[in-house]
């Protein structure tokens, strides 16, 4: 098969791939009813989470406040932000979060084109990832995102994807 034909076949195969869908269940990781703000609204970033089956959906949108402890880029195009939660939100953590020093993980997705293969197409389709700068380490912020358990990492809790954030006093 000639290279141009091979490229065409590859593009058609790519177009046939699509993300899976999960259903919300508004309780926290311990099974207790989850307190969510009615103003917390998801954005279109949900559809740009690659390999969605690795995340167990708990609530479609949750707002937290806390302090950013660290932030680093990942090869899947996401940014991994560790947040020390303010006391009212600590119930969102699971035992598995202890492997991340007891911080909540917050992940804005597709901040840059990923190198990790399973994320390439999904992120390539995201023409409008969360805009602007991300919070600096040490900042006290509110964050809104999809509350999930990461099954790949023992079920630690995350806001993934991050929908929006802002500074708080």
């Amino acid at each position: 098969m000639s290279p141009p034909r091979l490229a065409l076949v590859a593009l058609l195969l790519l177009a046939a791939c699509g993300p899976a869908v999960q259903v919300a269940n508004p309780v926290n990781a311990s099974g207790a009813p989850l307190s969510t703000r009615s103003s917390c609204q998801p954005t279109d970033q949900d559809q740009f989470v690659y390999r969605p089956s690795r995340l167990q959906l708990i609530a479609a949108c949750v707002r937290i406040t806390g302090t950013v402890v660290s932030s680093s880029a990942e090869s899947d195009g996401d940014v991994h932000i560790n947040v020390r939660l303010d006391p009212p939100y600590e119930a969102l953590l699971t035992k598995a979060n202890l492997t991340e020093q007891g911080y909540l993980i917050v992940e804005p997705v597709c901040r840059f084109p990923p190198l990790q293969a399973e994320a390439i197409r999904v992120c390539a389709s995201d023409g409008d990832p969360i805009a602007g700068d991300l919070p600096a380490v040490g900042a006290h912020v509110f964050m809104e995102g999809r509350y999930v358990l990461d099954l790949q990492h023992g079920g630690w809790s995350e806001l993934h994807p991050l929908y929006r954030w802002g500074a708080t006093p």
Binding site: P3, L6, A7, A10, L11, L13, L14, A15, C17, A20, Y50, R51, S53, R54, S72, A73, E74, S75, F112, P113, L115, Q116, A117, E118, A119, I120, R121, V122, C123, A124, S125, D126, G127, D128, P129, L151, Q152, H153
Partner: protein
């Protein structure tokens, strides 16, 4: 030309390719992302990687192959390879359980995706190299295996090890590790008895 020089060039080539492609596509190509389910975006991303890889590796092939043919082959190979790797990676991600061992599951996804990428680059580059340098089809096998191992190693090192220097320079580090795998494998082929090593 020494084996060490080819290895160094290949490490720099893949590091530069990854860095350039990520920066360029992030800066100017985001709006084209949703077109064709991301296919054109990935194709262009891979082409940029391939041009950078070809340009830097050409320093080790100076005047032994035609520059345009080498750059074109590397770009087309990487472009097709990235599109195919994206398909393979996504499909594997859908069938491999997320609750399994992350090293085994994630490693399988990265290694097989890298294998496809390396295969495409290897085939394209071999078609240019086979005449002037007498490089055999082992070039294809070596590049496929080298990129595969490089991809798996890069994902594992950057996910599992907390090395600040690598984390801070994530994109070039990823590319450099992939280049290390490809470079070692290609050195073995280039310096085999049957190849005519560039002077």
């Amino acid at each position: 030309m020494t084996a060490l020089r080819w290895l160094a060039l290949t490490i720099v080539a893949y590091a530069a390719g990854a860095s350039l492609a990520v920066a360029a596509m992030n800066a100017v190509a985001r709006p084209m992302g949703p077109l064709g389910a991301g296919g054109p975006f990935i194709f262009l991303f891979g082409a940029i990687v391939g041009v950078a890889v070809g340009a830097v590796q050409y320093l080790g092939l100076w005047r032994r192959v035609a520059l345009a043919a080498w750059l074109g082959a590397s770009a087309l190979g990487a472009a097709i390879g990235y599109v195919l790797a994206a398909v393979v990676g996504e499909q594997l991600g859908n069938v491999i359980s997320p609750t399994g061992n992350i090293v085994v599951g994630g490693g399988t996804i990265q290694d097989l995706s890298g294998l496809v990428l390396g295969l495409a680059i290897g085939v394209a580059q071999w078609r240019v190299l086979r005449g002037p340098l007498g490089v055999g089809r082992w070039w294809i096998v070596a590049t496929a295996i080298g990129v595969s191992l490089g991809y798996g190693t890069a994902a594992a090192v950057l996910e599992l090890l907390e090395v600040d220097l690598l984390k801070v320079n994530l994109i070039p580090s990823y590319g450099a590790i992939v280049g290390l795998g490809a470079g070692i494998a290609q050195v073995i082929v280039l310096w085999s008895r049957r190849s005519r090593v560039p002077a």
